[in-house]
């Protein structure tokens, strides 16, 4: 229960808004961020699953690639086929080291033929920028515009209805993982992407940082009109965990590869010569069955799995790995988690033991997301 020291951490442009709303603020990876607002995490989680949750994600990084070789540069950095993306498309992918370890997981936006934007994790901005410069710094113009860009996530089944009143942009026909640059939202210049990190339909809205506060207020008002509310990092974590979305620093790291992390689908070996390709090819040829894999599991006995708890083989008692993310799944009424285990223990139905602070509780490996939204 130690209080955070507010001195060193950076503040997003919405910091004072969170204070006004009575948020609990903590130092998260060097940023003062709201964990939750009065009402609490579960209420924010429910609001996002049933109406709209509004999230400050201004701490995330925005790195732009501009120039005739921008497509080539981005393709060199990420494991997907970035050069093949049409304008207006967004893509979830990873950037790897030569070792195959993940530098970061990110979303690539193709704004124009010769202009890409990569949105990166807050804690990785400097590392990513250095990595990008080291590999393709001479290929095109690379600018870290994180400090001048605000980003707000507007997530939930009523997000489209609520946003419609604030913009003339054609969001009704905007498909998932597509975006509209150069729009106007509540009188503010913005881009609107149909992306998110909650397992719900929704949008991520970017704008110049000087518009952040007014845009946030307009979005909050639109959200509350449909039963939505601001939501903090606590709800963001339970929402993404239920949707089985990985969190860099927990489930992904410099020493885990996308093949181990179950992100095979973002690795396009045929797409070109990306950094880390050779190592990943070797790992694949070594056999997907011999490596460790990120397994998702549901608790079958009483216990809440948490980051760092040992995962054991219930038959031999041998330690297989550690929980990388875990907690309660409020919308599914189950306790859930993820962790790296040898591939032989990672298939659905496998029984795992979770050592919850000395108490062994049984869990079972399950396939796919823990929570799936109902599609209209």
């Amino acid at each position: 229960m130690a209080s955070p020291s507010p001195t060193a951490a950076r503040k997003t442009p919405l910091y004072s808004e969170h204070q006004h709303l009575g948020a609990k603020l903590i130092d998260f990876g060097g940023w003062m961020m709201p964990v939750s607002y009065p009402g609490g995490i579960l209420e924010e989680h429910r609001a996002t699953r049933t109406a709209v949750g509004v999230f400050d994600v201004c701490h995330m990084g925005e790195i732009h690639f501009r120039g005739p070789r921008a497509a080539e540069a981005v393709s060199r950095l990420v494991t997907s086929d970035a050069a093949g993306m049409p304008e207006g498309r967004a893509l979830y992918t990873v950037a790897c080291h030569e070792t195959g370890g993940i530098v970061d997981d990110l979303i690539v936006y193709r704004i124009a033929t010769d202009h890409f934007l990569i949105v990166v994790n807050a804690a990785n901005i400097e590392k990513d920028y250095r990595h990008f410069l080291a590999h393709v710094g001479t290929w095109c113009q690379i600018d870290d515009e994180s400090d001048t860009t605000a980003l707000i996530a507007f997530q939930g089944p009523k997000a489209e209805a609520a946003l419609t009143g604030l913009t003339k942009a054609a969001i009704a026909t905007l498909r998932p993982f597509h975006f509209l640059p150069g729009q106007d939202v509540a009188g503010h210049p913005a881009w609107i992407a149909r992306t998110g990190y909650t397992g719900e339909d929704g949008f991520e809205i970017g704008s110049p940082v000087e518009h952040a506060v007014a845009l946030w207020q307009a979005l909050l008002e639109a959200a509350s009109a449909v039963g939505g509310k601001p939501a903090g990092l606590g709800a963001r974590d339970t929402l993404r965990l239920e949707a089985r979305l990985s969190l860099y620093g927990n489930d992904l790291s410099d020493s885990t590869t996308p093949l181990e992390a179950g992100l095979d689908w973002v690795v396009k070996f045929e797409a070109g010569n990306f950094v880390g390709k050779a190592a990943l090819q070797r790992q694949r040829e070594g056999g997907m069955t011999t490596m460790r894999k990120l397994a998702g599991f549901e608790m079958r006995e009483r216990g809440i799995p948490r980051h760092g708890y040992p995962i054991t083989d219930p038959r031999s008692g041998a330690v297989l790995g550690q929980v990388t993310s875990g907690g309660v799944g409020p919308s599914i009424g189950k306790n859930i988690g993820m962790g790296y285990v040898p591939a032989a223990h990672a298939s659905a139905g496998t029984q795992l033991g979770i050592d919850c602070r000395g108490k062994l509780a049984m869990a079972e490996v399950v396939k796919g997301p823990f929570y799936r939204r109902k599609r209209a």
């Binding site: 229960m1 209080s3 964990v35 939750s36 609490g40 995490i41 579960l42 606590g234 339970t238 009483r302 809440i304 948490r306 907690g327 309660v328 409020p330 602070r357 108490k359």
Partner: protein
Amino acid sequence: MSDSYPDDLLYTEDHEWARREGNVVTVGISQFAVEQLGDVTQVDLPREGEMLKQHDAFGSVESVKAVSDIFAPIAGKVVKVNTTLHDSPEYVNEDPYDGGWMIQIEPANPEALPNDLKKLMDATAYEAFLKEHED
């Protein structure tokens, strides 16, 4: 703030409360602890009959965010456990001083009880303690 910290209770620096009734002390966690934890999702408590030393961790409270140990404010034997918290941990949030009580302890040595209790804070001292540690 006085409503948050009833006058008839004693408090620990770990944010447990203790209510003495005759030779039995009822234990729970304070409003401050509840606010820090957020939504409580699981409470694990000892079995009746277990012997505790003062400051022993006797159980844990899990919230959506984190897990925290709960410590015995006095030494003694666990004579009663609030088993309803097993299925209804939300009582801790809703009613920390009544429905959210956790265990009752009977001191093994009744003569040691006043001495154990002397180490705890009354409501005024606890509120001053909280203020002091605000940041």
